[in-house]
Amino acid sequence: MVLLAFASVEGGQGQGMQLFWLSVGFGLVTASVLAISAVGLSLQFGITNYINFAYGDFMALGAYFSYALNNELLHLDIWVATVIGSLGMGALAVLLNHFVLAPFARRFHKTFYVLIVTFGLSLVLLNLEYSIWGADVRFFNMSLDRAHHFGPVLLTTSQIIVMGIAVVTMLAVHTLLKVTRLGKSMRAMSDNTSLAMTSGIDTKRITTITWFISGSLAGLSGSVLGITEGNLTPAAGELFLFVIFASVIVGGVGSIYGAMAGALLIGLATEVSAAYINPAYKLDIAFVILIVTLLVRPSGLFARPGRA
């Protein structure tokens, strides 16, 4: 990409625009992965009120589940494997909450302690992945990708599918939250847990369901991250977690739509900038946007209304 960037400068205006549109395509793909993961992280944060630092490992573990189904066990089609692997990660998230996180959350009212527990969980899961799959780079078993032109934008079949999955996921989450009784209960609980309980909402059940959704979205985003990157490693999720944090905070902590907007902004900015400066600075670009947002609009782009 660096060479390409220099080449474009040499090549003049036409090639420069081509490079720009190419990077916009990459940006949309990254934004898709980010949006799925950021929404999953935000949903869980809204309900339990502590950050899950093991989320990156949830992503990687979900991707390895998909990998195992795709490459090791049943040799399923990659997309089928992704769906099953993601749901498997959702189920595991429910168990981890029930046996590890919830007991700590009950015991310590300060969420800070639970946050430390999620750090520990992150280390345990990361090493579990290393012990099962090793540190080697793994590859999904996928049919060869074809490139498609959309005007100046160039995308592969799998990239288009990933963007489609992201759009469907966002619409599904939107419908869940705005239309269904479950989603309204989740929003009510995220707003005021004690009031939700006295209004008749089974907060324990909502918490369990939220962990399932959050874990599934982590698994889904981890799998599609692996698919778009072309490979997976145990640490891939953890590295990506910082970009997710940037998206969530830029969008406004706790706002699901903010997380979506933040993902789009950060995804596009990191990839487009990578076309012009060293791609090694991708993460730095994400944090520059984060810092600028916090300076200009400290509560994020989509701050919660009605909060003092």
Binding site: A188, D191, T198, G200
Partner: protein, 234 residues
């Protein structure tokens, strides 16, 4: 059979009780107020009825059904609802969504009920699609009461529903509470304003230092030397 009966309820935080063996009954169609100096345990008592705090001993019955050990989220379904003093609406939900959530515990048709509730709270009917966080403090308190009414409750517990409101809004809120009790509901109100409490209620309890110091009809309580009770001279 009283709508609500609390029998010798002892409750608190951790191991130390804040309220000791408080008993209170409330009948349908009446307003019972709880008054007393700060720190007397009025809010703690109400929280121990609704499942936020669990009584260490004693019993809570609604319509003669023992709800002392019923999970917190099921209590509303038994007809006992609660309007907290602060943070009493879902700020990021619209007025309509607040009412919908309030109706989740109801067994009857929530749409019909919402129409009934909005016909009582006409101001809210004009703002159904507004986020609750954007309502004024007084309107938020009215919405909180409306939300609690969505289950057509037997007993409604209100913790200082007029705290911090202008005198005009205080009148509005009290008028609504009287209207609710006339709809065959028992209203139990924690009130810091003694005059208001005596003026609006049928029965009054005075809590002092975590105990039910005295109770009676509003007229009986009005005849007592209240300053002495509040200042601890009795």
């Amino acid at each position: 059979m009283p709508a609500l009966s609390a029998e010798a309820v002892t409750a608190g935080y951790g191991r130390s009780p804040i309220i000791n063996e408080i008993s209170l009954t409330a009948e349908l169609g009446t307003i019972t107020t709880i008054i007393g100096p700060n720190g007397a345990g009025k809010s703690t008592f109400v929280k121990s009825l609704i499942g936020i705090l669990r009584p260490m001993s004693g019993k809570v019955k609604v319509n003669d059904v023992d709800i002392t050990k019923v999970p917190g989220h099921r209590i509303a379904g038994h007809g006992l609802v609660y309007v907290p003093q602060n943070d009493n609406v879902f700020k990021r939900l619209t007025v309509r969504e607040n009412l919908e959530v309030g109706g989740f515990a109801s067994r009857s048709d929530p749409t019909a009920r919402m129409g009934e509730v909005l016909s009582i709270f006409t101001d809210l009917a004009k703002a159904v699609d507004k986020k609750a966080g954007f309502l004024s403090g007084g309107q938020q308190n009215l919405l909180a009461i409306a939300r609690a009414l969505m289950v057509d409750p037997t007993v409604i517990l209100l913790d200082e529903p007029t705290a911090g409101l202008s005198p005009a809004y205080t009148d509005v809120v009290w008028a609504q509470i009287e209207r609710i009790s006339n709809l065959n509901t028992a209203a139990v109100v924690v009130e810091q304003n003694v005059e208001r409490a005596l003026g609006h209620s049928d029965f009054v309890h005075i809590f002092v230092a975590g105990r039910n110091h005295v109770h009676g009809t509003a007229a009986e309580i009005a005849a007592l030397d209240l300053p002495s009770i509040f200042l601890g001279r009795s």
